[in-house]
Symmetry: C2
Subunit: 187 residues, 2 copies
DNA sequence: CCCAAAAGCTAATGGCATTAGCCTTCCCAC
DNA sequence: GTGGGAAGGCTAATGCCATTAGCTTTTGGG
């Protein structure tokens, strides 16, 4: 031990995310992260509480990253254009990091650690829908419908679940249009 | 060993599915299945090739079961009513076995073992959509859109991903209506 | 310059999957 | 009926991984 490795929780999560991107969530193991960061496995416990904790931290990171990406894309736009931008940014992020998406938490609101990030994404969607003047539960339903579409498509695409890759862009465009037509039709 | 346990691959999968229903996919372990079937762990290898193989078999079972359930519900109906029935049957199945759905394969067409079952489900959807007279790729896109909606909603609901459970029936009804409106609008 | 907290390490434990090799049950051909 | 081989089970052994305990070393602030 001439010198310390200088790990931090952030660096551990960085390495974990690299691993996930390269080999998928099932390859996320403390032993692999330790090897990648040049440290013995038990040393990681100085930075994360357990493998489960690391998984949560990776999930949080992905959710925050995705939200940031979507936010960037939406700002400065409104109405249909904003919704389209949000939905396409979501898909683009997942396309760029297909393995990663499986690490994103599906129920962030029920996890103390991830709740804030989950609310942030939800508020982004609500803000994006603001100009449609939805009242009360209508806004909730519209948010859920959007989430169902983006998550449904992204999760299937990321796992290679569509039989043929042909025409996937068209399919997604149709879903976006369908969502918008519906939104306009019932406003 | 007075008498044999009389296991078969089917019984092993039955036990595995029970385990998944009760404790979730992450609890599916050869050790747990062995305990439940009253056998030593290595004995399971006489019936399944590996844990991965068992997971595939469980996934196959779920897909077949789900397809059977949807098929029963759709027969005898046509048009919008058939589509509504299919989508609601899918959701109902997943609601009845929430943990199980996480074991269903997302890309059945790319697995030799599961391919036939995947095609069967796809053909059910195509048959259900037949009366809309979709040609060529339009039928493919319509199938994908339906899948995105049912899978997206079911996976989020099954994992408790919707913050509040209130009004979920309404949200789903809206999604079904949105899908049908879109289908009619572009026929 | 000292010393306590932080960051690493090694050793040990226990769960799980998997393989090898052995024993017993069953059933079918004779 | 019966004998023998295949099928179904078992124990023992290996190896990977997570986790805990307890020790050593580095480091940064007083």
């Amino acid at each position: 031990m001439a010198v310390r490795a200088g790990l931090t929780t952030t660096k551990v999560v960085d390495a974990a995310l690299e691993l996930v991107d390269e080999q998928g969530v099932e390859a996320l193991t403390l032993a692999a992260v330790a090897a990648r960061t040049g440290v013995a496995t038990p040393s990681l416990y100085k930075h994360v509480a357990s493998l489960g904790d690391l998984r949560d931290l990776v999930g949080l990171r992905v959710l925050e990253d995705l939200t940031a990406r979507c936010t960037e894309t939406v700002v400065g736009r409104s109405g249909d254009e904003a919704v389209r931008a949000l939905m396409h940014a979501f898909r683009a992020y997942v396309q760029e990091h297909p393995k990663r998406y499986a690490a994103a938490p599906m129920d962030p609101l029920h996890d103390e650690l991830q709740r804030a990030a989950g609310l942030k994404f939800m508020e982004l969607v609500l803000a994006t829908l603001r100009s449609y003047g939805l009242e009360g539960s209508d806004a909730v339903h519209a948010t859920r419908r959007l989430r169902v579409i983006v998550h449904g498509f992204a999760s299937i695409e990321a796992s290679g679940g569509f039989g043929l890759p042909e025409g996937l862009d068209d399919t997604y465009d149709q879903l976006v249009r369908m969502y918008l037509d519906d939104l306009r039709g019932k406003s």
